[in-house]
């Protein structure tokens, strides 16, 4: 199949499947995007995982653990989707460890109090959902199907985050202060999750043409902000942006300029926790090597392979 036929297929909203012909650049774009997404799920387990053993009630503990477990499951679907493009999970993990692959910068911020569990669910998963809902219609079949599954669970994550936030915003003075503090710290990194402005996003062109992405970074960001501002108002928290106001004419919220220097700084490895997150993943991977080897040897001995 030539590139022309491929594009016709995309234009007529047909899914591309693993065995279909595809341009090499399409394949590479998908590997980069899906693996980044998978790594984000896996690295994203850490900031929340640190609070499972400190969760303040049995119910909160079970919900948080179930949520972090879901993230591991999402990572698994996404690594599998990525493997259909002809790359192994082992190689994907190598790319992560050698810093050739990235993950979402949001996970390079620390989690300092229990309200951060609320902020992550509400804002980080909230931002992720906006992006993922759009990706359910992505042109690559396995990725699209993975997204449909993931979206179902993410909406539960966002609700549990908002519930924690609401409970704390209406709790004691200290709890309310923790909730506002968490919102202050996570707001800007959350809206940075959608990536650079469209004008500064060099890959957007192809991604839109090939319908890997269905909406641009700025469109998705605006939709997240419009959805989230009223939610903050309902629970009496203040979004830390003095320029935020409703624009009647546009029918959207106007918001302040993002600190792109901060964004690139964290993307390029200089965020508060970049090293910690990657070291944690490498350590677990290395410490598990003897277990994986033993399982492999046992399987070979017993012809389980």
């Amino acid at each position: 199949m030539s590139e022309k036929l491929f594009q016709e297929k995309i234009d007529s909203e047909k899914k591309i499947e693993p065995k279909d012909w595809m341009p090499e650049k399409y394949r590479q774009h998908l590997i980069r995007q899906i693996s980044q997404h998978a790594h984000s799920e896996i690295i994203g387990m850490q900031p929340e995982g640190q609070w499972i053993n400190r969760a303040p009630s049995l119910r909160a503990k079970m919900i948080l653990l179930a949520k972090v477990q879901d993230e591991a499951g999402h990572g698994l679907y996404l690594y599998s989707a990525c493997e259909t493009l002809g790359i192994s999970r082992k190689e994907l993990i190598n790319q992560l460890h050698e810093e050739r692959a990235k993950y979402s910068s949001i996970f390079n911020y620390p989690t300092l109090n229990w309200a951060d569990m609320g902020a992550i669910g509400w804002l980080v998963d909230g931002a992720a959902i906006v992006n993922q809902v759009s990706l359910q219609r992505t042109s690559y079949g396995p990725y699209s199907r993975g997204m449909i599954k993931i979206c179902k669970e993410e909406s539960f994550h966002q609700r549990q985050g908002y519930e924690i936030m609401a409970e704390m915003a209406n709790g004691t003075k200290e709890q309310k202060a923790m909730a506002q503090d968490a919102l202050n710290r996570f707001w800007w990194p959350s809206i940075m999750m959608f990536g650079p402005h469209d004008a500064d996003s060099p890959r957007t062109g192809n991604a839109m043409k090939w319908k890997i992405k269905r909406q641009t970074n700025d469109e998705l960001r605006q939709s997240f902000i419009d959805k989230t501002v009223p939610q903050a108002q309902v629970i009496g928290l203040t979004i830390p942006d003095p320029d935020l106001k409703w624009n009647e004419q546009r029918g959207h919220y106007d918001f302040g300029e993002i600190d792109w220097k901060e964004f690139w700084n964290v993307v390029n490895g200089n965020g508060p926790c970049n090293k910690e997150r990657l070291d944690h993943h490498k350590r677990a991977h290395n410490e598990g090597r003897w277990v994986r080897e033993a399982a492999k040897v046992y399987a070979e001995k017993n012809k389980l392979n």
């Binding site: 690594y79 709790g171 033993a294």
Partner: protein, 248 residues
């Protein structure tokens, strides 16, 4: 404290403390699949702890299940010494699980026949879960024992180290005796034979050697614990203790 309350707390505390230990594995598993499996086991254990603590709270009449989990000191926790042992490496965790799961499989089977309807229902529900936990730890010990030289050595060492905690499973004290007499509790001394048979056949298949009898460590069921439990509780109970008036 009533005998039934203490009996119920002993069961709840085993699940809660082991759950807390298993949850420490989250994001640290040797494979992603295994990370998911261990979170799943921790979730089951927290669910069991919650069920038994809810019942304990009903018996107590004043404290909630969360009060019982988050506002008791180590000396009022009645779990086996084994479950508070630190995770160590993956093989060490799996040995700890195998020893415990094998016992709990037999224990819940008997407890599901209890005259106390609440305990019997909770045991029946938990039995389904522990069957899977047992299969998981047993399979891993067979794989690791019969895997590489290194893995065999590692799990053998763990088995030798953890063996001293296993006699506590089968002890019968006053609390047990009263519960057995009322047909509420399980006579665990009668489970030792079957437990030993399962463990022996598993370690044989895993090419491991049964540790020789050594001085046993017990006392957890009466609140005598290592300082590892205090550290575990300090972390677990930190928020509710620091902000006693907060609801979460």
């Amino acid at each position: 404290m009533s005998t039934l309350l203490k009996y119920t707390l002993r069961i709840a505390d085993n699940s809660l403390i082991l759950g807390q230990r298993m949850a420490e594995w989250c994001s640290k598993g040797p494979t992603l699949e295994e990370d998911i499996a261990m979170s799943n086991i921790a979730l089951d254990l927290f669910g069991q702890a919650n069920g038994f603590l809810e019942y304990a709270s009903k018996i107590d009449g004043q404290k909630t299940a969360d009060d019982l989990a988050f506002k008791r000191d180590a000396s009022n926790f009645y779990n086996f010494c084994l479950v508070e042992v630190e995770n160590g490496h993956f093989g060490n965790t799996m040995i700890r699980s195998l020893l415990f799961d094998t016992f709990y499989l037999l224990f819940y089977k008997e407890l599901s026949k209890s005259q106390d309807e609440n305990l019997s229902a909770l045991a029946f529900k938990s039995l389904k879960e522990i069957k899977y936990h047992f299969r998981h730890s047993q399979n891993w010990i067979i794989r690791l024992g019969d895997g590489t030289k290194e893995s065999n050595k590692k799990v053998q060492e763990s088995l030798n180290n953890l063996w001293k905690y296993t006699d506590e499973f089968f002890e019968i004290d006053n609390v047990d005796q009263i519960m057995i007499d009322q047909k509420i509790g399980v006579n665990t001394s009668l489970l030792k034979k079957e437990w030993t048979e399962i463990i022996e056949s598993t370690i044989n298949e895993a090419k491991l050697i049964k540790p020789s009898t050594i001085k046993m460590i017990t006392g957890g069921r009466d609140g005598k614990h290592s300082n590892k439990l205090s550290s575990l509780l300090k972390e677990m109970q930190y928020l509710p203790r620091k902000y006693p008036n907060a609801k979460w």
